[in-house]
């Protein structure tokens, strides 16, 4: 297979060159963890990470984002009329995104890029971004990406896939957008790798030992799963902190709020969470998902059943394992997925004979 070899010198030089045309976003060490940040001049992405604690979903879907601005000053002609908020959609590259997180962007795209409506904020940022992935040769114990239609060398949603090769990198260019970036960076040293890339992929895939089964989720009856007896047990320890939805690369729910400072106002959107009771409460006080059980069930049913049924593109989980690692009460989506996938009510048993 043809790959581009990038040694350390070319990598440093290429990043420096790209800084002239692209805004660079990459992993940087912050205390005990890594996080994706805009890189300063001369700063290199730190590729010595397993994965970041937060997913880089904010690159295309900022946690808080202005939508419109307006004036409330009655002496101004356009008082009370909403105007587009000024935005920066200049080209940017995310360097070192993991394949799971890149696939997550593709899953979220199904929500924001529909036949009837296009979300202009999400799509413009998406289009402005080139995705340069970094393959995982040393996965975490909680990674289960090979069960979710992805993998440590997954290519979906990436423009370039990088893999470590000793001190240097091998690059597989996947799209024209990726080719453009490689050319701009001066990464042109193409060679046949003699199968090394594929071999590394197979080795990495073999290191993913955590697996879940999702094969029955599609055929199971929605209402039977919704009424299943295990939700009480699954949700018992949940404290509705929302950490899972905050970390999750495929969670996209948002709120829209107005904020006023003096005579100037803006309408903005912020990440929201189905774990919070206020997410669904009606003005009357009635709340269709007022209990913890209902909210926990909503999160898992949305990810593992509703999304699958709606789009037929697999489950809304890429197996990054963040929620498994960070949940303060050890709720494990792998266990819930197994409970759902193997569910059979008495009736379901009878039907299956």
């Amino acid at each position: 297979m043809k790959v581009i070899n990038i040694d350390q010198k070319k990598w440093t030089k290429g990043i420096e060159t790209l800084g002239g045309t692209y805004k660079l976003i990459g992993p940087v060490a912050e205390k005990d963890f890594h996080t994706f940040k805009t890189l300063g001049q001369g700063q290199l992405p730190d590729l010595s990470f397993t994965n970041t604690r937060l997913s880089p979903k904010d690159v295309v879907f900022p946690q808080s984002e202005d939508m419109f601005v307006y004036t409330l000053d009655p002496t101004e002609e356009d008082c009370n009329i909403l105007k587009e908020a000024p935005k920066d959609y200049s080209p940017r590259v995310i360097l070192g995104i993991r394949p799971c997180d890149a696939r997550a962007v593709q899953l979220v795209k199904l929500n924001f890029d529909t036949e009837q409506y296009k979300d202009p904020y999400w799509l413009r940022l998406f289009e402005a971004t080139t995705f340069v992935g970094l393959a995982c040769d040393e996965p975490c114990a909680t990674c289960f990406c090979t069960s979710t239609g992805c993998g440590p060398y997954g290519e979906e949603g990436l423009d370039i896939l990088l893999a470590k090769d000793g001190d240097g990198l091998r690059a597989k260019v996947l799209t024209s957008k990726g080719q453009e970036l490689a050319d701009a960076a001066g990464w042109t040293d193409t060679a046949d790798d003699g199968g090394a890339f594929d071999k590394a992929r197979q080795a990495a895939e073999a290191r993913i030992v955590s697996k879940v089964k999702t094969d029955r989720l599609g055929e199971l009856d929605t209402l039977a799963l919704h009424g299943a007896d295990f939700w009480e047990d699954v949700s018992f320890a949940c404290i509705n902190c929302g950490t899972c939805t905050y970390l999750c690369p495929t969670c996209w729910c948002f709120d829209i709020q107005d904020e006023v400072h003096g005579k100037k106002g803006k309408r903005m959107r912020n990440w929201d969470s189905c774990m919070f009771p206020i997410f669904t409460v009606h003005t009357t006080g009635h709340n269709p998902r007022g209990t913890k059980l209902q909210r926990v069930r909503q999160r898992f049913m949305h990810k593992l059943k509703y999304f699958l049924d709606k789009y037929d593109q697999g489950i809304m989980c890429v197996g990054c394992g963040r929620c498994v690692q960070q949940c303060p009460v050890n709720i494990d989506i792998r266990r819930v997925c197994d409970l759902m996938n193997s569910y059979s009510s008495e009736n379901a048993c009878a039907v299956q004979g």
Partner: protein, 281 residues
């Protein structure tokens, strides 16, 4: 790229206090730009997000009818932050409207059918839109018999009273107005809750008859068995749901009832559709 979150600017042209408790007002809105009005091409049963700069947005059913041109009407109950502010606004004030949103009553399927409309309280807005639409001289021949059962707590709580009285006198629509109770000795319409009045007055269900039902949960709960008893199939009972909404275009994630989103896949569903969802509304 068209921005589906951007409201059209509108001016409040008229405000009518609808009910004796003054908690419901109808706002007549006129587009500031004529071309926006042409883009806002709606059908009876759809809703819109009313936008107030500095306060936010609220999803409200469209009470005006597609056959009424030059304005939109929304009847709004004073309840939360945005609606309370809206109730303090005056004629001439500028606000925004975003839409039309959601699906509508299935007018093409309803063509040639008998229609029973059952409404309660202030959930009569899109039903008013539908009645005005069906009674339009161009449209009336496209439908069979039209029956309406509409109730409120008291005579003073009925919406659109002038129109109700006028419809009641017509011979091409059977209007059954009812109130839960009244001490008015001159009250000449029905007294009783909507479900029993429906049982007394509504036509039998058959394959050519559809019921459109909108009202408070308690009314829906007791009307459903009545309609079943009258022979209405669940495929023939059409309802409009409400849930907390923000975006109104199927993106923000909160109004889901299973895989269906009330804002985009609804708000109009048949009871048969609703039975297939987890009913989280």
């Amino acid at each position: 790229m068209q921005n589906p979150y951007l409201p059209y600017p509108v001016r409040i042209d008229e405000i009518v206090v609808e009910t004796e408790d003054k908690n419901l007002k109808t706002f007549k809105l006129v587009f500031l730009n004529k071309e926006d009005e042409e883009k806002f091409n709606y059908k009876a049963g759809q809703f819109a997000e009313l936008s107030i700069a500095g306060k936010g947005e609220i999803p409200i059913g469209i009470a005006s009818s597609p056959v009424e041109k030059g304005f939109l009407k929304f009847t709004v109950n004073k309840a939360g932050v945005v609606t309370t502010h809206l109730h303090s606004m005056k004629v001439g004030d500028i606000m925004g409207v975003r839409g039309p949103l959601g699906n509508w009553y299935p007018w093409e399927m309803l063509e040639g059918k008998n229609i029973l409309i059952v409404g309660g309280g202030f959930a009569f807005t899109t039903l008013r839109s539908s009645i005005v639409y069906m009674l339009d001289p161009d449209n009336r021949p496209r439908f069979g018999n039209i029956d309406v059962v509409y109730g409120a707590r008291t005579p003073g709580m009925l919406l659109y009273k002038d129109e109700l009285i006028e419809w009641e006198k017509r011979d091409d629509i059977n209007v059954h107005i009812t109130v839960d109770a009244t001490d008015d000795p001159d009250w000449k319409y029905n007294v009783g809750f909507v479900p029993p009045i429906t049982e007394q007055k509504a036509p039998q269900g058959d394959e050519n008859t559809y019921a459109i039902v909108c009202g408070p949960p308690i009314m829906i709960k007791f009307t459903q068995p009545v309609l079943e008893k009258l022979g209405y199939d669940h495929e023939h009972i059409i309802m409009s749901l409400e849930n907390r909404m923000k975006c109104g275009i199927g993106m923000c994630g909160r109004c889901g009832i299973g895989k269906e989103l009330v804002c985009k896949d609804g708000p109009v569903f048949t009871l048969a559709d609703i039975n297939r969802t987890p009913r989280e509304y």
